[in-house]
């Protein structure tokens, strides 16, 4: 399979995970298991395989910005980087969903954070912490 084929598989898989998180109030346990564990694990296997196969031939490294940019000139390594985003963003999305549930934060507040995490990872993570702090303060007051 070429990096392009794998890319075509990885995106719908991630999207499925996000849809499941968005609909998680229907079945929190299954949503957590599929979107928070199973899909990130499948992606972790794919990422590990890509690194095992392609890391030794890749140019660049982690030491400087040009090195990191050089890494991404390899389609396989760029795909691995993309799968890394997809897997960890989804994992964070599942964590947000679980934490909100445990702390009694309404799912309606969670949805925008999930959208932001899906599109811009850390922005959604930050949004959730802001929201969490704001809601916690209100309950104390």
């Amino acid at each position: 399979m070429t990096p392009d084929d794998l890319f075509q598989l990885a995106n719908p898989l991630a999207l499925l995970g996000w849809i499941i998180l968005a609909a998680s109030p229907l079945s929190p346990r299954w949503a957590e298991l599929i979107a928070g564990v199973a899909i990130p694990l499948v992606m972790a296997v794919g990422y590990t395989a890509l690194i095992l196969v392609h890391w030794s031939d890749a140019t660049g490294g982690y030491g400087s910005l040009p090195d990191v940019m050089a890494l991404f000139t390899s389609p396989a390594i760029a795909l691995a980087g993309w799968v890394h985003y997809l897997a960890f963003d989804l994992f964070v999305g599942a964590w947000i969903t679980r934490t909100a549930r445990a702390e009694g934060i309404a799912h309606l507040f969670v949805l925008p954070c999930l959208v932001l995490t899906f599109l811009f990872g850390p922005v959604g993570f930050l949004s959730f912490f802001i929201l969490r702090t704001a809601l916690a303060k209100r309950s104390i007051a």
Partner: protein
């Protein structure tokens, strides 16, 4: 969460040997995925076939040892000395699969690789690790031999002990010889014809074949012992086991001689 629960259960439920076998089996999942993605080949097969074979073989070895461990003298495996030895053995197994997997990732070979000072320095160390991890079958074989309270029929106990001891002795001879040559073939394959799954050459001498048979003594001899205790009267069972052990060693010897003569096993 599900993951933390299952990982907390693993070491408590299984012995360290079984836990390592489970780790090797699970770690073969990304290796299989790598095999699907990778077109690089060595000797006509995917470069990832060898790590996968070693994960499978070592997992089978560990599960077998874990199974026979129940016939060790009571309390032996709880002792500090045995636990330290077991840790060393498991460390050697980890080192072997990391070495073999890393070589595949780097697009090169593990065994027989003396292409650079680093690879040449690691190879003999891995030979030492291989002998160390195989020595556990010898240690268990002797301990089971001496155990007066295995609860087994004498012939079955003898067959397990002999099988374990033979695995060590025959493997050290066959694999030890092979590791001191420049490759596992005796002769130069022309067509590259080989057996399915096992991958042994069907054209020239194949030193992996006697190594395979030698290492499986811990399965073959106890199998005969088990059948003998089921079928034969007690007085016949023990001589049958001795005969089977001798025959097994002779079979390995024949396979070894045939390979050394440059002839394929099959």
């Amino acid at each position: 969460m599900t993951l933390s629960v299952s990982s907390r259960y693993l070491p408590g439920e299984f012995s360290a040997l079984t836990t390592m076998a489970v780790i090797l089996a699970l770690a073969s999942v990304p290796l299989l995925a790598a095999m699907l993605l990778d077109s690089r080949q060595i000797d006509g097969d995917s470069i990832w076939l060898k790590p996968l074979k070693f994960h499978a073989a070592l997992a089978i070895y560990l599960v077998t040892l874990a199974f026979f461990a129940r016939y060790l003298p009571a309390g032996l495996t709880d002792g500090r000395g045995w636990r330290a030895y077991q840790t060393i053995v498991l460390g050697c197994i980890a080192a072997e699969v990391i070495w073999i997997g890393a070589a595949a990732a780097l697009g090169t070979t593990s065994h027989f690789n003396v292409s650079s000072p680093v690879w040449a320095a690691v190879y003999p160390l891995m030979g030492l690790a291989a002998v160390t991890l195989t020595s556990m079958s010898l240690a268990m074989g002797i301990a089971i031999w001496r155990n007066p309270a295995t609860g087994l029929a004498p012939a079955l106990q003898l067959s397990i002990a002999l099988g374990l001891i033979l695995t060590f002795a025959l493997t050290v001879i066959t694999a030890g010889y092979m590791s001191n040559t420049t490759g596992h073939y005796v002769g130069t394959p022309l067509t590259g014809a080989k057996l399915p799954v096992l991958g042994w050459s069907t054209e020239v001498g194949e030193l992996r074949a006697p190594h395979f048979l030698a290492t499986h003594a811990l399965h073959g001899v106890p199998l005969v012992g088990w059948l003998a205790t089921l079928i034969l009267p007690g007085t016949w069972a023990i001589p049958t086991v001795w005969l089977a052990a001798l025959a097994y060693a002779a079979l390995v010897g024949l396979a070894f001689a045939r390979s050394l003569a440059g002839l394929p096993l099959i």
